[in-house]
């Protein structure tokens, strides 16, 4: 080896500029369907149209149970509002009810603990705008058909903005597909409301006289934008937005969370819009089902797909019913789901005692349940049988064959492989099965988004707020009559308001109304917060679960696992933290 000693005592400074070969780090070519391909024929465009429905109408629904960032792990709006309580493991939903909503991005893939993932609203709205902007390219659709599609899309967009308004207040108004360099500032509540109403107008005009064939049942009819308008005006009139001061002070941004001026006339606007929907419904075959058979009528209205009371439903049957979130969360008897693997989340859920107290006996009087001492199971059995028809059509009571699926072996408590049983884990007072009436072998269901009953209760509420107790009672009693209860007669404002709100809770149990109502009536403390209670059952011998009455010994009132907290900031949801960090939108106060 050469003995060259190069004694380097000087300092060498080497500047090297090196570059990599371009080929390694070029971004890959984007492949997939382009806009032109999708809109090259009517058949292809149908895919885009139905995707718009599936995207937009999914608001507030747990369509995926474990894939973030939709609703937090295993939470539903019914759980958030305290209608149902859940005893299974799910740290996100536990934190959600016991700590309240938060905007931190350490939960749920950055979505935080909230009832919605803010950016996806705009992803879905963008898709609808894409359809509007490109439907003209389709060669084999008539001009009239294209106008109808645009009307549908506008109605859907209005729906999604309304859902956002209910959750966030004023939101940025995106009125077309944006490019990456465009943005929109956060609009005020009033501007958001106006835009929703504008879209509804345009949609209603485009959908005038549209009647779909049976193949297309479920697409928007004119009634839907009218319904959206009615709902929007109701929320504009309700106390959260319709006040001089917002629920939390927000300085110059007050108008983004509040209409900043109380006007009683907002109730009048709402009344007019609701009357319009009912009138249109009557003329077009959408009516509340009332054949003097309360149990069958209510059961059909909520549990049979495509009935005449449903104006709009979520019809997307997700791929693979087994793991799909919407089944896991709403079908407590997943014989078919179980066989496909996975667990049904709703097995561990049940009605809270606080919600149970809203239901009356069939004769209209109050039911009295046991106290904290052990009472014989027979008492529970008898009391359940005394309950009103809507109770029997909505829930499965432990140890009692569900009334709404008589004679169906899949829904029988004696069937060993059904999940109609009480389990040693605490499970509420009874379990929601209202979407499954005379199910037969049907494995799917459709979540009702607008049902004609809603507008009667809207009217009752609005009339009462402006002091017209007669009209309020008239509308309230339409619902009560259908449900088989005697008429309400109180005319005092406060008493009638309580009665109407109670009717809302019962009629729309688990239909995503209770939670927004609690927020917009500013009743978070009374309707949501506090310790929830359930019934705990004692089983015979060493059984760990019970099906038939003989398996049960006793029941008692018990505390549920989670104590619900209500913080003032929760009247509106937090905007996703990542979006606030980007600097174009202000967070809601308190987060």
């Amino acid at each position: 080896m050469k003995k060259i000693s190069y004694l380097l005592t000087s300092i060498l400074i080497v500047i090297g500029i090196s570059s990599c070969k371009d080929a390694f780090i070029e971004k890959p070519a984007v492949t997939g369907l382009s806009v032109d391909e999708v809109f090259s024929s009517a058949k292809n465009a149908e895919g885009a149209i139905s995707l718009a429905y599936s995207y937009i109408l999914s608001s507030g629904l747990p369509i995926y149970s474990w894939t973030p960032p939709y609703l937090p792990y295993e939470a539903t709006e019914a759980i958030m509002g305290g209608e149902d309580v859940d005893s299974s493991w799910g740290y996100m939903k536990e934190n959600l009810v016991s700590s309240g909503m938060t905007a931190t991005d350490s939960y749920n893939n950055g979505a935080g603990l909230s009832d919605d993932y803010f950016p996806y609203n705009y992803k879905y709205i963008r898709h609808a705008f894409l359809v509007i902007e490109n439907i003209d390219k389709v060669p084999d659709m008539t001009l009239a058909e294209k106008e109808i599609v645009k009307g549908e899309m506008k109605g859907l967009i209005a729906f999604r903005y309304l859902e956002m308004m209910k959750r966030y207040g004023g939101v940025p108004l995106v009125k077309k597909t944006l490019t990456m360099v465009e943005s929109a500032p956060r609009a005020t509540v009033q501007e958001t409301l106006d835009y929703i109403l504008e879209l509804c107008e345009q949609s209603a005009v485009a959908l005038d006289n549209v009647v779909w064939s049976n193949d297309w049942m479920g697409r928007l009819t004119k009634g839907v934008p009218l319904a959206i308008k009615a709902e929007a005006l109701m929320y504009a009139a309700r106390p959260l937005f319709n006040s001089d001061e917002p629920y939390l002070p927000y300085g110059v941004n007050n108008d983004k969370i509040c209409l900043c001026e109380y006007k009683e006339s907002r109730w009048n606007d709402a009344i007019k819009a609701n009357l319009d929907v009912l009138k249109w419904g009557k003329e077009n075959g959408y009516e509340i089902i009332d054949t003097d058979n309360p149990f069958e009528d209510f059961g059909t209205a909520v549990g049979v797909p495509c009935n005449k009371e449903i104006l709009l439903a979520y019809k997307h049957q997700a791929v693979g019913q087994g793991p799909s979130g919407i089944y896991k969360n709403y079908c407590p008897n997943p014989l078919y789901i179980r066989s496909n693997g996975g667990t049904a989340l709703c097995e561990y859920r049940g009605m809270s005692y606080e919600m149970l107290l809203n239901f009356k006996k069939a004769d209209g009087s109050e039911q009295v349940w046991a106290g904290t001492e052990e009472r014989p199971y027979q008492e529970y059995y008898d009391k359940v049988h005394e309950m009103e028809p809507r109770f029997k059509a909505s829930v499965f009571a432990y140890g009692i064959n569900p009334w709404n699926n008589e004679g169906n072996d899949k829904w029988s408590i004696t069937n060993e492989s059904s999940w109609l049983k009480a389990n040693k884990n605490k499970q509420g007072c009874a379990r929601n099965i209202k979407f499954w009436y005379n199910t037969g072998n049907r494995e799917w269901f459709e979540f009702p988004i607008y049902r004609m009953a809603e507008f009667y209760l809207n009217l009752a509420e609005a009339y009462n707020e402006i002091g017209h107790s007669t009209e309020a009672l008239a509308n309230l009693n339409v619902i009560r009559n259908r449900a088989g209860l005697p008429d309400e007669t109180v005319t005092d404002y406060k008493l009638l308001q309580t009665s109407i709100r109670r009717e809302w809770a019962v009629e729309f149990y688990n239909e995503n109304q209770y939670y927004p109502h609690a927020r917009h009536w500013k009743e978070g403390e009374t309707m949501i917060a506090g310790t929830k209670h359930i019934f705990t059952f004692k089983f015979a011998g060493s059984l760990t679960d019970a099906r038939v009455p003989e398996d049960f010994i006793s029941y008692r009132l018990d505390e549920a696992a989670q104590k619900y907290v209500w913080l003032k900031k929760m009247y509106l949801s937090p905007i996703t933290l990542a979006e606030v960090n980007k600097g174009y939108i202000e967070q809601n106060p308190g987060y």
Binding site: K3, S5, Y6, L7, L8, I11, L12, I13, V14, I15, G16, I17, S18, S19, C20, D22, I25, E26, K27, V30, Y91, E94, N95, S98, S99, G100, T102, T104, D105, S106, F118, P119, Y122, K123, Y124, I125, R126, H127, P172, V174, T177, L178, T179, M180, E182, S183, A184, K563, V565, T576, L577, A578, E579, N581, K582, G583, Y584, I585
Partner: protein
Amino acid sequence: MLLGKRRYLIILLRNCAFFKDRLSITADLFKENRNNILTTLETVPGIVGADVSVLPPVNVGKMSNKGYELSILWRDNISDFNYQISGQVSYARNKIDYMAEAPYEYVWMNKTGFSYGQYKAYVNDGFYNSEEEAANHPYNSVDGNHVQAGDLRIIDINGDGIIDNKDVTPTGFSNIPRYAFSANVFLEYKGFEISALFTGSAQGTFSMGGYMISPFAQNKSNALEYMYEGRWTPENYASGKKITYPRMSLNTSGTQNGATNSFWFRSTDHVKLKNLEVAYTFRKLGFLSRLKMSSLRLYFNSNNLFTFGGKDLIEGIDPELSQDDKTTEGIIYPITRVFNFGFKIQF
């Protein structure tokens, strides 16, 4: 797309030999700036409606790295005794200069401006040692403000009276240590050899989580010894025993004692006797040469013989462990010591 890189390298000494080739030194200083790194844009407003997964990544990222390397080798012999000692140390510290990150409210919450992989956690300062102390806590938004005696005390960094994600600050370093050093010793005397390799690192951190911190995992398992022995109880605290675990709970991960607390981020500073080999080579074979053997070497070899340091980690965790999904979940194989015996025969 061009990946730009600008590197300033100062070579102080490169394989310089001194003292008649017995001492050899290499020393480098470097500073490197890299730009045009392919980055996912996280600054596009969500209202554009395009999912981050759909937008193509763009070459806007920037990162810088600086450090030094020093290596020394001394080789000599005293008549029949040969020896060689060498040592190396390297230091590298990187920093993310730009990554299209939407900035948080407080600087310490960002990833930009810190090392790649820098850990962040709630700052822990001892325990709440009594109910009175526990009653005086800032509102804790993790786990519904449930705080008891025996819980980890968390400091409210931004002073707003609430413990939430704004109080998560950089803790420790990243899992890849900044300092790496090693030393090699080789001694040989008349066929008898000892060779040892020491390795070590400093300024690295490991985050304990999952099964490491939650006892009775999946309702089937047991509690780890350090949890059982060192858990906080009023008696243990009163007797002055060293507390190594907050109050025992089935649900540690879900409470405010969960994994995002600086208590669980442990230093991986260590020095290991990584490899030790003792061997003897027979030169004079005597009767064995009748078997036509020209040499016979017997050796004993071991890996991971001793580890000094890593005392913050639970005994058995290898300080060199890399942090990935499995190890974060707590699925860790303890450090293994390997012993080999062998021989080498040359014919």
